[in-house]
């Protein structure tokens, strides 16, 4: 039947239109459902939602005032749960409406493909934020800790001291220079999140918490805002391929300098902060013109091989008078072991490895989902290679990317890390609903946005208290775990695979992790 006939056949009643453009209309995945008996029509939800999912429509007139009722647009909910949490009457539930496809293999990709061919928008690379949500197994989940029974006593952390203090940096046994080590009271550091990807209020909360806890926060590649000068004892500044905000003040007000080569979520990929997000403050901090795109090239244009990295490491050491350790952060990739060995020999004091679960403000979806390797195997391979080359004791390793809880922290340490970086966990601690849309800069929680009205949703003191609470809780849990293993200082667990056993892993996987099968 032709289009015309169809139209005319129905034209008697109401004009019905079929529209090919609707072929690409995205099916609704999540949506708020309102309990109108509880709803008081206050309208807070519509104000809270930054994604345009909730609109208010007139319902009636009461006492001469119009009353509006919230309805779901069924267009843009990403299950961030902000409206649900903010609703004073608890009248909202976010529901998951699974996309029904008869084709099991294609089920997940159909929607994404439609987004890419949607004629309303030109074909585009799919963007995504946070770390990979791939259904690949987590090795962390398949590793179990040892515990003391009979032959040696567990240590009770409520009665005996259990020490988490860690020193990171190069132990130089040759020569007389006294090494500079980073002292952290807990082996957990806040990972790099740049000013731009998150707003200044979140960075201040991060820095405050790091100071209270005696650990470090990391500026990310967006430079160091002058308001954060005071936190220099707890600050790691980052030099990335864009070299944003790298100036004398930046080097003065830090404890260590990190060279970012790669990021777990997007190995081999640069960054792009669109010009409209480069506000006056961000432009000052990054030292770029207001409104211009902040582009981080994929490679550092002065690092095309390991010897170039060595030059940059020593350029930074010269700049900082050899008083500040230099970290090098790389993505966990297939060849990570020799890469780490090369970085150690190039003079880095601390090497951070970021696994494929590591977070990002924005990355191409295909990169995030299919590039890089898990941190568990990467840290284990790096630790083993450094030992085989007899230089493991000279440098420190930091594991990053996919650390969700205190047990993950300790497992990463047992696999060879001296400490870990956490990033996503920091955001979740501030309330983040993990809707994976940080790139949109509309974060309803006010975390990954620089819109002043939204950033105002973050209370710096409450946020830093939440972070302090998180790390204190994790520290206590780590002490419980260590006590159960009969170990009272964290250093005795670094690379101590004897205290781990694997379940549901192949012999090859166990071999790479260096862990024995449970029962052995």
């Amino acid at each position: 039947m032709s289009q015309d006939k169809l139209n005319s056949a129905s034209s008697n009643e109401k004009e019905l239109q079929l529209d090919m453009l609707k072929n690409w209309k995205r099916p609704v995945k999540y949506m708020p459902v309102f309990d109108y008996d509880r709803c008081t029509r206050c309208g807070l939800c519509a104000a809270a939602c930054t994604w345009g999912e909730i609109r208010l429509i007139p319902e009636k007139v009461e006492d001469g005032k119009p009353v509006s009722i919230p309805v779901a647009n069924r267009s843009s909910c990403g299950a961030c749960h902000y409206c649900e949490r903010q609703c004073p009457e608890e009248a909202i539930t976010i529901v998951d409406t699974p996309f029904v496809s008869s084709h099991r293999y294609w089920r997940g990709d159909q929607k994404n493909l439609w987004r890419q061919v949607d004629p309303n928008k030109p074909g585009h690379v799919l963007l995504i934020s946070t770390g990979s949500d791939s259904e690949l197994i987590s090795y962390f989940d398949r590793l179990m800790f040892d515990a003391c029974q009979v032959t040696n006593p567990p240590v009770d952390p409520l009665r005996e001291p259990i020490e988490l203090r860690t020193y990171l940096g190069r132990r130089d046994f040759n020569g007389n220079t006294k090494p500079t080590l980073l002292e952290t009271r807990i082996p957990i550091l806040f990972s790099a999140m740049s000013y731009g990807s998150i707003n200044l209020r979140v960075q201040i909360a991060d820095a405050k918490a790091a100071r209270t806890l005696g650990t470090f926060w990391n500026t990310g590649e967006g430079g160091l805002h002058k308001k954060l000068n005071d936190y220099s004892d707890n600050t790691i500044v980052q030099v990335a391929s864009g070299r944003f905000g790298v100036n004398p003040r930046f080097f003065r007000n830090c404890s260590a300098v990190e060279i970012k080569i790669g990021q777990g979520a997007k190995p081999g990929i640069g960054g792009h902060l669109p010009g409209e997000k480069v506000t006056e403050e961000i432009s000052r901090t990054r030292m770029i013109p207001q409104g211009s795109d902040a582009l981080s090239p994929a490679p550092h244009h002065d690092i095309y091989s390991i010897e170039d990295l060595r030059q940059l490491i020593y350029a930074i050491k010269e700049t900082t008078g050899y008083k500040k350790p230099v970290l090098v952060k790389v993505s966990a990739v297939h060849n990570i072991a020799p890469i780490v060995s090369g970085i150690a020999r190039a003079g880095a004091d601390i090497i951070a490895i970021d696994g494929f679960r590591g977070g990002t403000g924005a990355a191409p979806r295909r990169i995030r989902q299919s590039m890089g390797i898990p941190i568990e195997v990467a840290i284990s391979a790096a630790d083993r290679r450094l030992r085989e080359e007899k230089i493991r004791h000279e440098v420190s390793l930091i594991a990053a990317g996919g650390i969700r809880n205190s047990a993950d922290v300790l497992k990463a340490i047992c696999l060879g890390a001296d400490a870990v970086y956490i990033g996503t966990a920091v955001l979740v601690a501030l309330g983040c609903g993990l809707c994976q849309r940080c790139y949109a800069s509309k974060c309803s929680y006010g975390i990954t946005t620089n819109r002043a009205d939204l950033a105002g949703r973050i209370d710096i003191d409450i946020a830093s208290q939440a972070l302090v609470g998180l790390i204190r809780a994790w520290s206590d849990e780590i002490k419980e775990l260590m006590g159960g293993m009969g170990i009272n200082t964290i250093g005795s667990l670094v690379g101590n695979r004897e205290r781990l056993r694997g379940v549901h892993l192949t012999s090859e996987e166990l071999d790479v992790l260096g862990v024995k099968q449970a029962g052995k």
């Binding site: 040696n152 001291p161 009969g486 170990i487 250093g491 005795s492 670094v494």
Partner: protein
Amino acid sequence: MCGIVGGIDTTGGTIKGSDFIEAISVQHDRGNGLGGGFAAYGIYPEFDRYYALHIACNNERSAKRADEFIRSHLYVKIAEDMPTKDVKNIPWHPLLKRYFTFPGPSNEDLKLSNLGPTTVHDEEAMLDAYMKKFVFNFNSTIPEAFVMSCGKNMGVFKGVGYPEDIGEFFLVDRMEAPVWLVHSRFPTNTQSWWGGAHPFSLLEWSVVHNGEITSYGVNRNYLRMFGYDCSLRTDTEVISYMFDLFVRERHLPVEDTCTVLSPPLWKEIESIQDKERRDSILQLRQYYPQALLNGPFAILVTNGHEMVAMNDNLKLRPLVGAIRGGQCFFSSEECSFEILCPDREKTWMLKGGKPEIVRMKEGLNVAG
């Protein structure tokens, strides 16, 4: 659970082996018959230039290969069967050999090639490094054979059985020595075998240990980087290698080595008033976190000139000391002192993480 006893005579006199057999036998219940052993120093004065190799081989074939291996790498002054006595409670024992040797192939000049990457400064250090490498090569290449001890003028006598039976078997009751270590084993980590009995020894250092080293994985990884293969399937061997690495190779004082192995808590370090001492201890702990021993332990370590008695920080294993005249004794239980030194002047309990170091030359200068 294990039982340990040690003694050192600083006056130049000796202590009878039979006393130590009796002293460990009164701690009978601390062992379960799956391991016992003795280390005695100053027992081969007539051959004190030579490295005394005590070798155990499971069968004639391995003994033959061991003999060939030794003769191709070392000059052999004397090769003999270890004098032993049949004992009812030792139903089986490996072939036990004793060699007095010196580095260098037989009938040839010393060949000190293939030394490890260690920096050696003098001839003695070179010889020691060669012997160390020899022992690790021996243990890894000769199947069903291992080196019990390889130091000069000392020897380890150990095996599977109660220590009193092992002592009788090796004729320890006929020996006299100024320095002794004794062990009774109740294995909990690994299956028992002759090589797994204590004391563990490398060159002049020997150790007996009661406890479990939960940091074993870290310590072993660290030692491997410096050429120490941990092949004896038990955690204790790392302690003897640590002393060899820090004291013999790196020339760290014994006190500092003890600090590395069992340092004070960070808070305790911070509260030290003397800045120089505080910085030095802080640095030792910052530099060598992989050498720190974690878990419950009581250990006695000696090189024949000095004896170290040390407990873990939390004092999770018993260790007591006693003094009589110029002699100093350490034991898991005080009952052993009733045999060794019933007329002792002093008995004291060692504090957790505070090592006692007794030196031949300095005489008795202990906290107790």
